[in-house]
Symmetry: C2
Subunit: 382 residues, 2 copies
């Protein structure tokens, strides 16, 4: 990811797929491995040993070349493209996210993803007025040249797609690119494949499960300059998307609503917390007119200008680290970790170890399934 | 007004009434005159000469002693008290307002005005939900010990009074204390006189006219720690009350509503501009819990610690000013004034005159009807 964006060969793409489909490798670990080993192929070679050092006893389940090829073929047959995060066609605002999906499936008109985009999300059990509002707003934002991103859910999402189907709409799925959820949106889904664009992070064929939805939401915000929430109850999925948007440095916008309607409590709360109040398309256009999403280059600069220069590890060959020192470091890191997340920087300070040592140890523990990476350079016990 | 608060004798009260009922004497001029001459009686003596100097040719219409006595008697007969701004029973938050009404009529339970108060105002053509919300919020705020202040109008005002009638409600009228507007609120008015409190600035018997309503609104906010607006269209009277509250340093709060309802555009705009978002009584209670309105003493300190020490004029006897200098000053002030308001300070700088001279000249021009005082130490050509 430190190289400029470039298309991958089929062989490289196979390696990317294998690496991200490997047990205990999430998007952040993927990017760490790529940074440390320079290519997915070399990371794949290093995996078994890293996991063993982290305390793994049974072998790590690494996706085979055949499995990756089958995934590529299934996408091709379905008419979808696989885009890797380093490729020029991969949407740059999404590539700039810490935990950008290394590989996405895209069906329909991928070129739409180059447009400036805004997400419109909200309650599944939305009011008639809320749906009417979302649809007309999506229509106006589409007319203003924006791509409208949403999640193909019932209610507000459906209205947002419907309003922008003619101008340009992107549906981000929680399951595989070929799995329509909810089933009643089959017709809308087909229309979007035909006229818009569909994006999925899960492997083709994946049935969406509850845990997929929050992860999917980071793609909705990650593809967009800002997220507009139209009707949302407290503790609803739309608020997760709003939180992701905040973490990703995107604009958060909300439509005010009556306090007597619980479907407005979440949106009103966002306003209370400083979200931009939206009553008409113009409010959205003004809120995002001077925005551009952080670019991948900026994300890297940001990572590398962190107080502790975590990229130093890449420059420091693994062989330089003494195994008995690493064993002690591993024990110390485990001792300092709990179930509530801490940042890598806090861990480095708490352990009084060098950043490269801590990063190596964390990577190993992660692959061993003992530690998990979280967005915002955070880790916790798994 | 520089003395501590004290009850007035009947004779003094007569003078206060005469002075405020005199042509070209508004509340700010009243307070200036009182400050400069020490008593209403001495100000009344000085009036004709001041107006003449200001360029008045026909005599100023000064209210007679008999007229003032008739006003006092009419109030007494009606069962209302006249309270002067310097008196201990006059509500202190209102006394702290720059253009506090020098005299108010109060009917019903005047002691309620000592409670911590919050205003609830809004659209006359409010939605059923808006009225329901205002009523239940007023009930809860009343239960929390607050006096609920409103304007006896249709819609939100009526609901706010209805919700707080049992706990304590104050209606501020635009016309005289005995003139019910709108007529259909006759029953509510009687209930408020019986259980709550009614306040009016206009002389008893005055039929309310359009120009009275914005002036009345400054009393609604002036009596309160904060103003909550429940449903208000753009350019509505409730927004004037909100602006008054801001100018008076009071909390401005608004209830969010659907952008599809024009009755929510004004309230949503207030939120956009930073008003506190209110969904329930607790939001109001939290917003005002640490507030207390500026006291009269603070207002005086504030006035007197302004960049230019305008009270200096009180210390500088009128006789010290040379008449030919004053004539030149008068011409210069008129030349520097236009129809858009400027502050006294700007005028002092623009004219390169001393503050006492400018204040004297402005007072004279005002009494002559050539200049008008506006809140915030501003003046303009009449």
């Amino acid at each position: 990811m430190t190289q400029p964006r470039h298309p991958l060969t089929d062989a490289e793409r196979i390696d990317w797929i294998r690496l991200i489909r490997t047990e205990n490798v999430g998007p952040i670990t993927f990017h760490r491995l790529l940074e440390q080993y320079g290519s997915a192929a070399r990371a794949l070679d290093a995996l078994p040993e890293l996991a063993r050092r982290g305390g793994r006893t049974k072998p790590l389940r690494v996706a085979s070349k055949a499995e990756a090829e089958r995934e590529m073929q299934a996408n091709r047959r379905f008419g979808a493209r696989l885009l890797c995060a380093c490729e020029p066609d991969y949407p740059e605002p999404l590539a700039a996210v810490d935990d950008a999906p290394p590989v996405i499936s895209v069906a329909g008109h991928a070129h739409l993803l180059r447009r400036r985009a805004v997400a419109i999300v909200g309650a599944r059990n939305a009011s008639l007025n809320g749906k009417k509002f979302a649809e007309s707003l999506a229509r106006e934002l589409g007319a203003a040249g924006l791509l409208v991103v949403s999640g193909l859910a019932r209610g507000i999402d459906t209205a947002a797609h419907a309003g922008s189907i003619a101008s340009g709409t992107a549906a981000v799925l929680a399951g595989g690119i070929d799995v329509v959820y909810p089933p009643e949106n089959e017709g809308l889904y087909r229309d979007i494949v035909a006229q818009g664009v569909v994006v999925a992070e899960s492997p083709i064929g994946t049935q969406p499960q509850a845990r997929h939805f929050p992860r999917r939401n980071r793609l909705i915000s990650g593809l967009s300059l800002g997220v507009l929430v139209v009707e949302a109850a407290l503790r609803s999925g739309s608020l997760i998307t709003a939180r992701m948007a905040l973490e990703q440095g995107r604009e958060v916008m909300a439509v005010p609503g009556s306090p007597l309607d619980p479907r407005c409590h979440g949106t009103n709360n966002l306003l209370r917390e400083g979200a931009t109040l939206v009553e008409r398309a113009d409010d959205v256009l003004r809120a995002i007119e001077n925005l551009r999403p952080p670019t991948l280059a900026e994300r890297q600069r940001d990572l590398f200008s962190a107080p502790i220069h975590t990229h130093a590890i890449a420059a420091e060959p693994r062989a330089d680290l003494d195994e008995s020192d690493l064993a002690k470091a591993r024990a110390l890191v485990l001792e300092n970790l709990g179930h509530s997340p801490v940042t890598i920087d806090e861990l480095v300070r708490g352990c009084q170890l060098s950043a490269p040592v801590v990063l190596t140890v964390v990577l190993e523990l992660e692959l061993a399934g003992r530690v998990q990476r979280l967005p915002g350079h955070q880790v916790s016990l798994a």
